[in-house]
Symmetry: C2
Subunit: 538 residues, 2 copies
């Protein structure tokens, strides 16, 4: 059973070892766990539905609460502290594109607000409901979760837009194929959600981002269907796929998604290496990316994250031995951990790994073999479960990510961590901030910073204020360094303020014009991408 107020399935927990607890206590002071609100207490507080009875729409409080919040820190503390925001008035569970069409026609004619839902994993406020006079309908796509067509010659697979990652892969694997799109939210996030938020998976170095994987499909918009045919490439004017990608439910609801798949690889392995310090490590991954070696993953932790990961790993004695060995090989206190993935036919994998190790040696890397890499692969989707564990110990976690060209990577990484520390310093609260680069490109890199801090006493308000202060401070640094509002989590409501820094005023007007074009009554997911549709509860 999926947790209603935390990440993932109730049967799965991640434990914190002694060393990790000690590190947290030392850096952040002892955590003070609070009392969580109960789902049963929230449900009766959900107001009566303002939606008409309709055979496709359910009005029960339980369904409505389940689609009303996502996985952002704000959503998390709303649930944990029982700070109930507006939730949809009803939830539809369409099973076909035709039913989505019916629902949209109804909503369009009645001026209902429509908020699409699928995996519910947004960390950017994509599910926020405005304080509106108009009824709000959630369209929950989770029943549209099947492989509809497989073309083995062109390597194309068509899925219902609500198919979650696990089911995408299970249905493809049964036939010998993979999509290869593995965001950390993979267990729950869906192929349609990936497209409309421009998601990126852990092995994007091989498979590409969802932009490269999305071959076509169908979007129902308030003014009619937009059908995107599959083509290997075209010079036939602006690419309408690229308008659907990142549309975040503003233009319509994606119902079918055709993706570019691959035969299951002959070989896949993950390897750990250490580099002596940040400068050599950054130069090394940049060189690998710019040489375009056929690797599938490069994930570089900075010094603090490296230390944190080694502490989290447990096995104190073994890790101690490793640290001494690494120090002897030149990777001491400033060392940085690089996880490298190779996914290819056997001959290409051998070539790529050999060339990568040669290149990395030139930058002082020490290779410690595949064991740590294999362990990473086993736990690759478990990271978010730690958030549950930390909360129970009295600590909060959030992540902020961006991407920027190489000359700004190091300074922006430092600025993001430092802005976080200064933000919490205003509240006299310590924070543990650390960073990795998980998607490297010839041109630059993503930057993914994580922040852990002691949850404040006093419930929702003080914790929400701390989080807003953090987000604002880090976003300002990102904008000042020319980074994107988001590399992989989308804009939602949480980043909409800053989008103008990236798109410019004419760019923002263009997006607003597209909203009016597809959605003349302004019913689709207001407040996401653009700052419209309010007021809001907070």
């Amino acid at each position: 059973m999926r947790r209603w107020n935390g990440w993932g399935d109730e049967s799965t927990s991640m434990n914190l070892g002694e060393g990790a607890r000690a590190m947290l206590a030392q850096r952040l002071g002892p955590g003070q766990p609070g009392q969580d609100a109960k789902r049963e207490d929230l449900l009766p507080r959900i107001p009566a539905s303002r939606l008409l009875e309709h055979p496709l729409i359910q009005h029960d409080a339980s369904s409505r609460l389940a689609v009303g919040l996502g996985e952002s820190y704000a959503d998390w503390i709303r649930k944990r502290f029982g700070q109930l925001p507006p939730v949809p008035d009803g939830v539809a569970f369409p099973e076909s594109g035709e039913q989505v069409r019916t629902l949209l026609d109804l909503a369009h004619s009645q001026r209902w607000i429509v908020i699409p839902f699928a995996g519910g994993t947004s960390v950017s406020g994509h599910l926020d409901c405005p304080l509106s006079e108009r009824p709000i309908l959630s369209v929950n796509l989770t029943r549209m979760n099947r492989l509809l067509h497989l073309d083995k010659t062109s390597l194309l697979a068509t899925f219902g837009a609500g198919t979650p990652g696990q089911q995408v892969e299970a249905q493809l694997r049964a036939q010998g194929y993979t999509l290869g799109h593995f965001p950390q939210s993979f267990e729950y996030s869906t192929v349609g959600g990936w497209v409309v938020t421009r998601s990126s998976g852990q092995q994007s170095l091989r498979y590409g981002r969802i932009e490269q994987l999305f071959a076509g499909g169908r979007m129902e918009t308030p003014v009619g269907p937009l059908v995107l045919p599959t083509l290997p490439a075209a010079s036939a004017g602006p690419d309408l796929r690229e308008i659907v990608l990142g549309s975040e439910g503003r233009f319509g609801i994606l119902t079918e998604v055709t993706v570019r798949i691959s035969p299951l690889p002959e070989h896949e392995s993950f390897h750990a290496l250490f580099l002596p310090d940040w400068d050599s490590a950054e130069a090394a991954v940049r060189a690998l990316a710019q040489r375009r070696l056929p690797l599938s993953m490069l994930r570089l932790s900075n010094r603090i994250e490296t230390e944190t990961n080694l502490t989290l790993a447990g096995h104190e004695r073994l890790i101690g031995l490793l640290q001494r060995y690494l120090a002897w090989r030149g990777c001491g206190a400033n060392k940085c951990l690089l996880m490298l993935g190779v996914t290819a036919d056997s001959a290409t994998a051998r070539h790529a790994l050999g060339e990568a190790r040669r290149e990395l040696r030139r930058h002082g890397a020490v290779y410690i073999g595949p064991a740590m890499g294999s362990k990473w692969a086993v736990n690759r989707f478990k990271g978010p479960y730690l958030r549950n564990t930390l909360w129970d110990q009295g600590y909060s976690v959030d992540t902020i990510e961006t991407a920027v060209d190489w000359p700004q990577v190091k300074s922006l990484m430092h600025a993001m961590e430092q802005a976080g520390r200064e933000a919490f310093a205003r509240f006299g609260t310590p924070v543990h901030a650390f960073t990795h680069l998980s998607h490297v490109y010839p041109q630059g890199s993503s930057i993914y910073s994580q922040y852990v801090w002691p949850t404040a006493p006093g419930g929702f308000a003080p914790n929400f204020e701390r989080w807003q202060t953090l987000k604002r401070a880090v976003a300002e640094q990102i904008a000042a360094h020319g980074g994107t509002v988001s590399h992989q989590h989308g804009v939602g409501r949480d980043h909409a303020t800053h989008l103008v820094d990236e798109k410019g005023p004419l760019g923002m007007a263009t997006l607003a014009g597209l909203c009016r074009h597809f959605d003349p009554h302004g019913i689709m997911n207001p407040g996401k991408l653009l700052q419209d549709g309010g007021p809001w509860a907070d």
Copy 2:
């Protein structure tokens, strides 16, 4: 000096050997060369300019004629037969983005029609002028041809949008870099033109299409500037770059283009192989593309093109020996020529070529070494010069291209050739039609068909009619097979009729909406992409 009514520089000619002449005579009958119109006769027929005097605008007939026509077959016969269409009333030669801004503001306020010009190599009618009451201003960007900024860390280079391919490469090579974008029009076509028509280069397998190379830039639109920042990747809403790509002058004028460059490769070589027949050849290139071997080019000629190329090569005795050797190795009358390019560091090149040859052997390929490949590389931009030579011998040439998913490739290729044959049969005219795949993708391939036929006596009208019949017949086959309106030549006016088959009615309305958004007075390049802005001279 560039030819005014043919391809390329006057100092360069391609000769046809005896064998090629014989083949043409045998297949098409003897060509009957006609008398070309003279530039001096056309110039006095250009009407007086309707544009105001302005320091940035020139009104002389010579400048106006030079920007009034492109390189489509229709443009070609207009020039050759002296069928003068409307040409712009004046030509501006801006040297900066500010001057482009000034010109657009002026045109916007005066409701002048604006047609951007740079390389003048369009083969899709991008330069056509409507029969309009409104004055027409050509904005010629050829003076904006410099490398403006080079970022060696992020491998980004910013050029004036009017920089032609040769100057892009020359300026990069001087610093040890390459863009790697080599369309056949490379000598004249420009980086800005590539972006707004979604161009593809011969080595797109390594470097990507211009979509992948275009990192950002600046477009001046009638309602203000659209600035596209460079970012390695982003999930921040719809990608506005993808609206500029393929915009064909409808939304504004691109002034600066930042592209993703590469260090000059350690190794580059081209290799010729033969496969026994089409089915084995298609399966082979599909396997190579789907294995994602790091090759830089795969160019597969069908049986008729293979035969034609071998005849065009001259060296009858040598080719005869080669044919006998190939037949002995299993590549007889149905053989297909594959040109394969490898561009990489030496180790990767060795790996890729080795693996590719192994894969190709499994499909019955015979490798004949790099000599023919090197010869191809030397002449890689000379193909269009043959058009001059053929014209002088009394023959016309045109090319039609598309891309489609793999299951349709073979049948569409046959249908394109057959539709051409049937189109000319209506006029009792023979045609020599042959095809290659020049851009292969895991999902499908481009298809590039060439047609050679005897130029009809009687001047412009009968030849224009034949050409229109050909284009229409082939376009219908492309649409019926689900192919794109164009893989690499853009839409222009020539393919605008068929764009709705690909974009659908809501897609077309979206493009029209974007036109109105950026260009509320409808001054920008009318009739291109969308069928508006007429009437037209033909």
